[in-house]
């Protein structure tokens, strides 16, 4: 507490009507809104998957393109990053700055691995010999699968990337010497966001990927 009061410009968190800090309410409201963003994208994808199920007269079997082993691996990585995130939040609550740094670093690295997998996946799909899946075509035939797939997973990837940069920001800030347990709330909110992005992937992965294998 003592080093928190040293920051002249640090505004104290006022006592709120509900007892929940303002920033947290803001984040929850944002996540509620974000649910609608992803809900719209996921339903767009599912509707089109059902009504545009053929390409060039043949049933569209996207398994020819998908690399389920890689995606399962990246899913696992993203879920594991949530564990690091949770540990990081717990560390800052205890005032353990050093431990928090390692945990944030772990989250960042795992997030980056996930992003790398996605970049690899995208380039791989676009150039898959004989099975090119681009934004507007599949095997050279116009189709909507690429549109919905890339825009949905790309939006999720953007969310992960924003999270990674946000965490890098906090990691860098932790070396300025100004960081203290007073920032636990900020890291917690970061964590809320990160877990939410994970949960969205937990929906996207079975609905977009696994379901193709259950057909």
């Amino acid at each position: 507490m003592s080093d928190a009061s040293a920051h002249a410009l640090e505004h104290h968190e006022p006592v709120t009507s509900t007892g929940i800090p303002n920033k947290k309410v803001l984040m929850w409201a944002f996540l509620g809104s974000d649910c609608m963003f992803f809900g719209t994208l996921i339903s767009t994808h599912l509707i089109y998957r059902k009504i545009s199920a053929t390409v060039g007269g043949n049933f569209l079997d996207i398994r020819d393109v998908f690399d389920i082993e890689l995606t399962s691996f990246s899913t696992f990585i993203l879920l594991a990053s949530s564990l690091f995130m949770a540990l990081g939040v717990s560390a800052i609550h205890k005032g353990n700055l050093k431990s928090m740094r390692w945990m944030l670093l772990g989250t960042i690295i795992f997030g980056a691995i996930f992003l790398a997998c996605q970049v690899y996946e995208f380039t791989h799909f676009i150039h898959a010999p004989g099975n090119e899946l681009t934004l507007s075509t599949y095997r050279g035939e116009p189709h909507v699968f690429g549109s919905t797939f890339y825009v949905l997973t790309g939006t999720h990837g953007t969310h992960v990337a924003i999270g990674v940069f946000w965490l890098i920001g906090w990691l860098a800030y932790s070396f300025t010497g100004k960081m203290s347990v007073a920032h636990a709330l900020d890291i917690e909110i970061c964590g809320l966001y990160w877990h939410f992005v994970d949960i969205v992937w937990i929906i996207i992965f079975p609905v977009i990927y696994l379901m193709e294998y259950a057909l």
């Binding site: 507490m1 928190a4 009061s5 002249a8 410009l9 640090e10 505004h11 104290h12 968190e13 006022p14 006592v15 709120t16 009507s17 509900t18 007892g19 929940i20 800090p21 303002n22 309410v25 803001l26 409201a29 944002f30 509620g32 809104s33 974000d34 609608m36 963003f37 809900g39 719209t40 994208l41 767009t44 509707i47 089109y48 009504i51 545009s52 609550h93 934004l135 507007s136 116009p142 189709h143 909507v144 690429g146 549109s147 919905t148 890339y150 825009v151 939006t155 920001g169 347990v181 007073a182 636990a184 709330l185």
Partner: protein, 647 residues
């Protein structure tokens, strides 16, 4: 932990000036810099309001051009494309740049005062919301000057008319401008709504329970929830459309596997809640005004709020009634028809309760009350024709005819705009500290009421005798001429009324001859009327402790135990956060990003498409730097020491 109080030290302004790129404006900033960097919810509210009134004039001129073109058959005031651009811009402007920001202006200015807060929860975010709104409005209107001119796609932008495949001008940029401006305006609305939700949930004065909140604040909360849940649908739809137009995806391209139907669903999942986003604030205003001028509390407070919430909730379940004629099949059509009829019940409840409020009161007919009464009657007509449209067989004739135009103008002008004007006449004395001329106010009301009905009532009949909407002209022999001429005359009367009204609002800020308002000129009921007019920078010198609903009224007339108390004056004064340049910088970055994306494609001499992302990346970096600097500068602040008895 976080909620533990940490004593703040007096800020060292001198130090900051040296370490900042821009000097952070201090306590005594005035003039332009003050307005550009302000984070005071009252100033932001005023800027929201004034910008929206400016756009009201712009949209109004567009409307008058439309009406002139329809004066007689086969007129050529405008070409068909110009006419189509006019109605697209008129619709988009009025919905996104007039009614919504006018509501936001009142949310900003009045809501914190009503709940006993010193500001909104995130003042700088509030400023960002304002500048995004200004940027979005600018982008939309800049479209006039580039290839193809403004969009000619309707405010609903139905696919596949928006597809580049069906562009009627080569390289038409209108729809792109439309897409990017709506995205930026969406950011503005979302940010403001997150802010209002947090403020209302978290920053109520002690004792201000949810069921003691003024109705207007309740409507703010409901509308904010509607915005954060409805805007994602349009944002994603616009993203998909942007990808279609810019990167060749197939979301709405029916020749390559897309479904234009999807656009309509996404648009109206947003679009119908949007209707309530436009009307609920006006209902909130009227629910404040009627009790004041009847000297009675609102009849059935709980029911009015509950029906507001029900309207908001059900607003998400009726979107397909905009699509009865798109061939959805018997079952879906019937279900949406029934749900739409149900939504009439909570709407009716509100009208009953307003009449119930007046029953047994002492009714005064000042200008705000006249507008409130105008609202009730006009909204009733708009609501009734709405019920007609819920019936599918009727809708099969009315859809896309002038009957629908009449219907929603009764809701949006007779309803929303009259409600907002009612708000101006009611609350401007609180904002300016001066009373407005009652006679001129009543004159404005008369002009607007007459002009409005003269314009839009004949349109019901025009729709029934077969005039389709969105047509730039009509042929002779349909019998449309007379009624269109009446409507055009009415539109000009309405326009004159609105212009005089706007003049009256603006001049009341500057005209020193006007009577001073005093704390509570209307003998009104809610907390904001316990403050001095105009409201001091810090709103409440001491945070009030609320004991009842309608606190200002209870303080004057209620029993002793219902009088509010005040928290003791803090020995280090009222902490005021500092002004900041960063919201403006961030908004500029977003504006540049949108403009950069609009112009990132060029065709080189060999006919190849060249994409150059330099400008968007640079502008995006400006936005990101703005946000980082914003985070690093912190709220900052200075302290004010109001005297013991100051409000």
């Amino acid at each position: 932990m976080a909620t533990e109080s940490i004593k703040y030290l007096a800020p060292n302004t001198e130090n900051k000036v040296k370490t900042q790129v821009f000097p952070r404006p201090g306590q005594h900033t005035t003039g332009l810099v003050d307005w550009l960097t302000t984070i005071d919810h009252k100033k932001i509210g005023l800027m929201y309001g004034m910008t929206a009134l400016f756009f009201l004039i712009v949209g109004g001129i567009e409307a008058l051009l439309i009406r002139s073109q329809l004066w007689d058959h086969n007129m050529d005031v405008l070409t068909n494309r110009e006419y189509n651009q006019m109605f697209t811009m008129h619709g988009t402007t009025m919905v996104f740049l007039v009614i919504m920001p006018l509501s936001a202006a009142f949310f900003n200015f009045i809501m914190p005062l009503q709940i006993g807060a010193r500001d909104v929860a995130f003042p700088r975010m509030n400023a960002l919301s304002l500048w995004c709104f200004v940027g979005g409005g600018l982008i939309l209107n800049l479209s006039w000057f580039f290839t193809g001119g403004s969009p000619a796609i309707g405010w609903f932008g139905y696919a596949p008319l928006t597809d580049t495949r069906f562009a009627e001008v080569i390289g038409d940029m209108g729809p792109d401008f439309w897409i990017f401006s709506l995205q930026i305006l969406g950011i503005a609305s979302l940010l403001a709504s997150f802010n209002f939700i947090t403020t209302i949930i978290n920053m109520r004065a002690p004792g201000m329970t949810m069921m003691r909140l003024p109705v207007f604040t309740w409507m703010t909360l409901i509308v904010s929830f509607l915005i954060i849940l409805a805007f994602p649908a349009i944002t994603i739809a616009l993203v998909e459309l942007m990808f279609d137009r810019t990167f060749g995806t197939n979301f709405f391209d029916f020749l390559e596997g897309g479904k234009p139907h999807l656009w309509q669903h996404l648009f109206w999942i947003f679009g119908h809640p949007e209707v309530y986003i436009l009307i609920l604030p006006a209902m909130g205003i009227v629910s404040e005004v009627i009790p004041v001028f009847s000297r009675k509390p609102l009849f059935g407070y709980g029911l009015v709020i509950f029906s507001g919430a029900i309207i908001g909730f059900m607003g998400f379940a009726v979107w397909s009634h905009h699509m009865f004629t798109t061939g959805m099949g018997v079952v879906a059509t019937s279900a949406f028809a029934m749900l739409t009829m149900l939504i009439a019940i909570p709407t009716g409840v509100k009208i009953f309760n307003w009449i119930g409020t007046m029953w047994g009161g002492r009714i005064r007919f000042d200008t705000p009350m006249l507008f409130a009464l105008g609202f009730i009657t006009m909204f009733m007509i708009g609501g009734f024709t709405g019920i007609m449209h819920s019936s599918v067989p009727i809708d099969a004739q009315h859809q896309d005819s002038y009957f629908v135009v009449a219907h929603f103008h009764y809701v949006l002008i007779g309803g929303a705009l009259f409600g907002l004007f009612c708000g101006f006449y009611f609350w401007l004395p609180k904002m300016t500290g001066r009373m407005m001329n009652e006679k001129l106010g009543k004159f404005v009301f008369t002009l607007m009421f007459l002009g409005f009905n003269l314009t839009f009532f004949p349109m019901h009949y025009l729709g029934m005798i077969g005039q389709p909407r969105r047509t730039h002209t009509y042929n002779e022999g349909h019998g449309f001429e007379t009624w269109n001429q009446i409507a055009t005359i009415g539109a000009f009367i309405l326009g004159v009324g609105i212009v005089i009204g706007i003049y009256q609002f603006v001049s009341s800020f500057f005209n020193k001859k006007l009577k001073p308002a005093g704390k509570n000129p209307w003998d009104a009921r809610t907390l904001e009327w316990a403050l001095s007019s105009p409201v001091k920078e810090y709103n409440f010198a001491r945070t009030p402790i609320i004991k009842a609903r309608d606190q200002a009224w209870e303080n004057n007339y209620g029993p002793r135990e219902n009088h509010s108390e005040k928290e003791p004056l803090d020995d280090h004064g009222v902490h005021m956060p500092d002004r900041s340049w960063w919201p403006l910088v961030t908004a500029l970055g977003l504006f540049g990003l949108a403009m950069g994306m609009l112009f990132h494609r060029t065709i080189d001499p060999s006919g190849e498409l060249v994409r150059d992302y330099t400008v968007p990346i640079l502008a995006g970096s400006v936005a990101i730097i703005g946000m980082i600097m914003w985070a690093l500068e912190g709220p900052g602040g200075y302290h004010l020491f109001p005297k013991e008895n100051e409000e």
